[in-house]
């Protein structure tokens, strides 16, 4: 069976669902952050798939989507740097990365 646009969209959605389940299931804040990165990358896959299958009138791929993806990757890299710095600061204050232990704003 030839690979169609739906195949790529399904893989993208499946990875997104796995990342979403991971955010809810896991309690280590670093693994939750990894799952967030996974969801971001999964969304990128559907963007690239649409860019390749929706050809422009000249028959070429739509490169605007890939420029957009470049910006997404840049923002994701900045987000990882800031997020991990926050996690390190949190670990210094609480000595744990378990999200069930970090609930001081609850009471």
């Amino acid at each position: 069976m030839e690979v169609t646009l739906n195949h790529f969209l399904f893989v993208s959605g499946l990875l997104f669902a796995i990342g979403l389940a991971g955010v809810l299931v896991r309690r280590n804040v670093i693994v939750i952050f990894m799952c967030l990165e996974l969801m971001l990358s999964a969304a990128n896959l559907s963007l690239v798939a649409f860019s390749r299958y929706n050809v422009t009138p000249g028959g070429d791929a739509d490169y605007n989507a890939q420029v957009f993806l470049f910006f997404i990757i840049t923002v994701a890299a900045a987000e990882v740097a800031v997020g991990l710095a926050i996690i390190v600061a949190l670990y210094r204050a609480k000595q744990t990365t378990d999200i069930t232990q970090i609930n001081s704003m609850k009471n």
Binding site: R52, V82, V88
Partner: protein, 167 residues
Amino acid sequence: MLDLLFYIFATLSVVGALGVIVNKNPVTSAFSLIAAFIGLAALFIQLDAYLVGIIQILVYGGAVMVLFLFIIMLMDLPSEERRKFGWGPVAGGILLGCVFVVQLVRVLADYSAGSRVMQDLPVGAASDVEQIGKLMFTQYYFPVQVVGVLLLVATIGVVVLSKKELD
């Protein structure tokens, strides 16, 4: 041949993603995530997005995951593995994931444009690096500047956050 490669790399990325949430040890999770990112980069390259695929490997597989592993190493995490296992979040996560996948299948089944096959790119067209570069430094020049400022702000923010004493 290309179809076979699609299935191989899609399986690699899905198995890697499952490994992230199944493994107890954060280091193993990080390495599974690297496998998932490499599979995703291979899918990008199969979609003729060479630049994006290479950037995916360099930025995600390289820089971001090294940063994750460095932080995990810094924190000495494996000592917190043994703790009681809550079934509530696990059931909720799996249920929500399944609901999402079912909904995805229903939507894709109705999406008629999704059954199109890949057309060959025109012969002699400019490479993707050239086209993306042209777009980025003409039409999207202002966003590039904004992203540069964002990276600068993030760098300063990380330095401020990581300082021992904030006085």
